[in-house]
């Protein structure tokens, strides 16, 4: 605040005319308005087309792509496609393509999160059928993606058990925004001195409504419950 005139600007001199003649124009708009407008249009389109979209958010290395690979193989009958978000390379898209499902890769370059416009631009390439499940694997990052609505039905947080029990407390925004939490790499817990129950308790402190799925995807453990939840999401858009 200017200590001379009390205006909102930093200190400045007052011997010439400038913003004392300024006038206020109320805007009252959400900072995310640009993204949210596109996201809402996408949501309406997904609803109309019967497509259940899940936005997967987790740190790099949490096991998002591996979870998807195993999930896709567990749900052979369902129509599923994937949008892969990474800063660079099409490595994840190639892993998904190897499962026989449709996939597009979005590279964000320096960008740390996906925005709704990126989904809108690439959606047409997937040729989604009615009653499809669309996974969006966000850029590996537990912070920024939490803020950006992609028109999804639900956000799913993915945290590996090796990341530590306090991860949900340290990165609460994504846990708060998510409908479900998948705790991956459960088979590693005894080897990394991790307490999955405490991790889950911490997550529920941040978000008591969270559905939680502890899995060891490669071993198939916990995958039935996770896949049942996915089927429910599909039922929801029927």
């Amino acid at each position: 605040m200017c200590r001379t005139c009390g205006c909102g600007a930093a200190d400045h001199d007052h011997d010439h005319d400038h913003h004392h003649r300024s006038r206020r124009i109320a805007l009252e708009t959400d900072l995310l308005a640009r993204n949210d407008r596109i996201a809402e249009a996408l949501r309406a389109r997904f609803e109309h087309d019967g497509i259940a979209v899940l936005n997967l958010i987790g740190a790099p290395g949490a096991g998002k792509t591996a979870l998807l690979e195993h999930t896709l193989r567990k749900l052979p009958a369902a129509s599923i496609a994937v949008i892969e978000g990474d800063q660079a390379t099409d490595r994840d898209a190639r892993r998904i393509a190897a499962t026989g499902r449709r996939v597009v890769q979005v590279n964000t370059g320096a960008g740390c999160h996906l925005e709704a416009g990126m989904i809108e631009r690439r959606l047409g390439e997937l040729g989604l059928a009615r009653r499809s499940l669309l996974f969006v694997e966000n850029v590996g990052n537990l912070v920024c993606p939490a803020l950006f609505d992609l028109g999804e039905r639900a956000k799913v947080a993915v945290v590996s058990v090796a990341e530590g029990e306090d991860k949900p407390l340290k990165y609460p925004h994504v846990i708060r925004a998510a409908a479900a939490l998948v705790v991956t790499k459960m088979d590693l817990a005894p080897h990394v001195d991790a307490d999955p129950a405490l991790l889950i308790e911490n997550a529920r402190r941040v978000n008591p409504d969270l559905a939680v799925f502890p899995v060891a995807a490669a071993r198939g453990e916990g995958m039935a419950e996770w896949c049942a939840w996915l089927e429910q999401q599909l039922e929801g858009v029927r």
């Binding site: 124009i25 009252e28 708009t29 912070v143």
Partner: protein
């Protein structure tokens, strides 16, 4: 494309301001940011000048009104400051609904 989400938000602010007020000269952009909105006010301040350079609002200054977080406990009904998500209510409950502190608002501009 931007590297942290605060920069993406500033770009959004520029677009919105230009769309709403046209070519009037902007002196101040005033934002209202909640303590638990998931946005670093420091990063907004740091990035603002650089981000608006070369845009129609270049030279404007940024004023951020910070809003403290308050939650209502769904167990006991009391309202109290919320230091962080996951912090318990005095009654021990964790089911706390944010009633202030989530703001992420382009409040107003001052134009010459």
């Amino acid at each position: 494309m931007t590297a942290v989400h605060e920069l993406a938000l500033i770009e959004s602010v520029v677009d919105e301001v230009v769309a709403r007020i046209g070519d009037q000269r902007v002196a101040i952009v005033r934002l209202e940011i909640g303590a638990l909105a998931g946005v670093s006010v420091e990063a907004l301040r740091t990035g603002f000048d650089v981000c608006i350079e070369g845009t129609p609002i270049a030279g404007a200054s940024l004023d951020v009104v910070e809003v403290a977080a308050v939650a209502r406990c769904r167990s006991c009904g009391s309202e109290a400051a919320l230091a962080a998500y996951g912090a318990p209510c005095a009654c021990g409950g964790f089911d706390r609904e944010l009633i202030a502190g989530g703001e992420l608002l382009l409040k107003e501009v001052e134009v010459y």
